[in-house]
Assembly symmetry: C2
């Protein structure tokens, strides 16, 4: 809280009580930081910057700390009132030691992210996998608020997964649980970057959707994507497929429907195993809305058991832009406070 | 304990302290009941009888109660010392009300199993899904003793699954969690009885292994299974495939290896999602031992992430015959006692 000059609209606050948590989302392309209200809410004073991971962890951490400071200043919290910093980062983390063990997206190995940030900012710092943060953010304040059992999927460059059981992120034996994107839905299927075959990520991530769209053009009829690919194949992105589908392009709709049906196999598998109350689907492709969710839900109904499917809402994320920051802040709050 | 005439080898027991739990395993083919020591151990005085589910639930329950009484008598506990009855039954159960909602294997619907047994025997009764019981038995006293996160698979007429997290069976939102047999590992694969495609059960259950073995005979070279099928196709069972493989039959070994590789896809998926400490595999086919487990583990290594695969033992069940009774008894004990 701004010392000496509280805005008149502020509720009365016990001196020194934390008002904010800094939430940070380290993505392969962009960094984002914002001030998440301690009691929960959309982050204020969000700042973002390109990640430029190639410059190395030291540079990126310095930039993250600058961003946190700028965000704190923007809400008038540079003098106090910030409980700490929650950071979501891609790839597996050693949570005990706050170390990013391996991040293909960033090219980092064994980076002691937590301590590097804490040394520069003198606040408590918690680190967590980014897909877990997104799921936890949706659990705390989004589409799966308070659900006893939630599975989150984020469709992006890859497919991230996060599992929340009884209000806690489920980490598994080595902190690697919830890797739903690498669930194989076709044992002899498309090769995945991870070395396995048929991972749902190899069909339904952004780049995989684009690749499948281009591959199918040879036998496609009239489609705007054919024009696009003749200009520059790189223009056929998942976003372009979604846009064409929304504009009524039949071929693009077919690609999205096939994507939905394959994604539904993974979703039905998750229902068979976790019997969750809610599955929250976020990320760029989820923005296709009903063009994705309608065929997805239909195929899930065909595959999952009635009682389990009936118990599970399958919904788009409510915080697609901010769930990562909010979830990272929630991880910090739980660490310090024991509850949310 | 036998009143008035305790065997000299008995430890001193506080008067009225329970010594036994009746564990019951209701299978599609056979019923089994035995007296599980209250502190844990192999069931004593196991009795079994054909299920004959077609005679109806009343008849079967009457037979189960007779079997429990016979088993109690055999250990001298007819006068007391039995804490209650734990029953494992196939299919989804309404655990709150102790009702078997639907069992394709038994042909029952909405049978109030718990109360039907309790009315006839005047003991506390707990009911639980049979695959959950098998997993819980292996967690309490078997191959996954005390593991923080355990997944159990039972390869039989179908493939059952059970998940134990933090010492408790994970039930999910509607009691239908852990249905690992219906995880699809090929979205356009073999049709499953459940209506979906590519369920691992459609490849690696006993009948599915037998069917795949027969289907492949057309292009197979010299194999003892060809002789068997010419006598009577029904002789080609999963057991016959395992026996032929053990005897060195190359074709039968190939069928088992393919089974192992497909099963490995499901196991790797479970590792990606649950990151468990142990996966326990039981049931008839697991008796093939290294012929199954060696190719299974190799394929899991290829597909799962190193840290998660390294954290997970993949082991055969230690209590293949009795885990169901032991796990059912454990469910009863937890219900009454709060812990094991």
């Amino acid at each position: 809280m701004r010392e000496g000059n509280p805005p008149e609209t502020d509720p009365p606050v016990r001196k020194g009580a934390p008002r904010w948590i800094a939430g940070v989302d380290i993505g392969g392309t962009n960094l984002r930081a914002g001030m998440v209200p301690y009691g929960g809410g959309e982050p204020a004073a969000v700042v973002s910057a390109p990640t430029r991971a190639g410059e190395g962890a030291e540079e990126v951490v310095a930039r993250v700390v600058e961003m946190i400071r700028a965000s704190m200043e923007a809400v008038g919290a540079e003098g106090g009132g910030v409980a700490g910093v929650g950071i979501g980062a891609p790839g597996p983390l050693d949570r005990e030691r706050g170390i990013v063990t391996e991040t293909p997206n960033l090219g980092w190995r064994e980076v002691p992210l937590r301590d590097m940030v804490a040394e520069r900012i003198a606040l408590a710092v918690a680190t967590e996998n980014d897909a877990n943060c997104a799921a936890y953010g949706e659990w705390w304040l989004g589409a799966g608020r308070g659900a006893e059992r939630l599975v989150g999927l984020t469709l992006g460059t890859g497919i991230g997964g996060g599992i929340v059981l009884g209000g806690e992120i489920y980490h598994g034996a080595s902190g690697a649980a919830g890797e739903a994107g690498h669930m194989s839905v076709h044992f002899a299927g498309r090769r995945c970057a991870c070395g396995s075959n048929g991972c749902v990520e190899a069909y339904a991530s952004g780049p995989a959707i684009a690749a499948r769209a281009v591959e199918g053009l040879g036998t496609a009829g009239d489609t705007s994507l054919a024009t696009l690919v003749s200009e520059d194949p790189a223009l056929v992105t998942a976003e372009a497929v979604c846009e064409a589908a929304t504009a009524g392009d039949g071929y693009a709709r077919g690609v999205l429907e096939e994507t939905a049906r394959i994604l539904a196999v993974a979703v039905a598998n998750l229902i068979h195993l976790f019997n969750p109350d809610v599955i929250v689907i976020g990320g760029g492709v989820a923005a296709a809305g009903d063009l994705l969710f309608r065929p997805l839900r239909a195929e899930v109904s065909r595959r999952a058991f009635r009682s389990a499917a009936g118990a599970c809402r399958i919904v788009p994320a409510e915080l697609p832009e901010t769930a990562g920051m909010i979830g990272a802040a929630a991880v910090l709050k739980r660490m310090l406070h024991g509850s949310l």
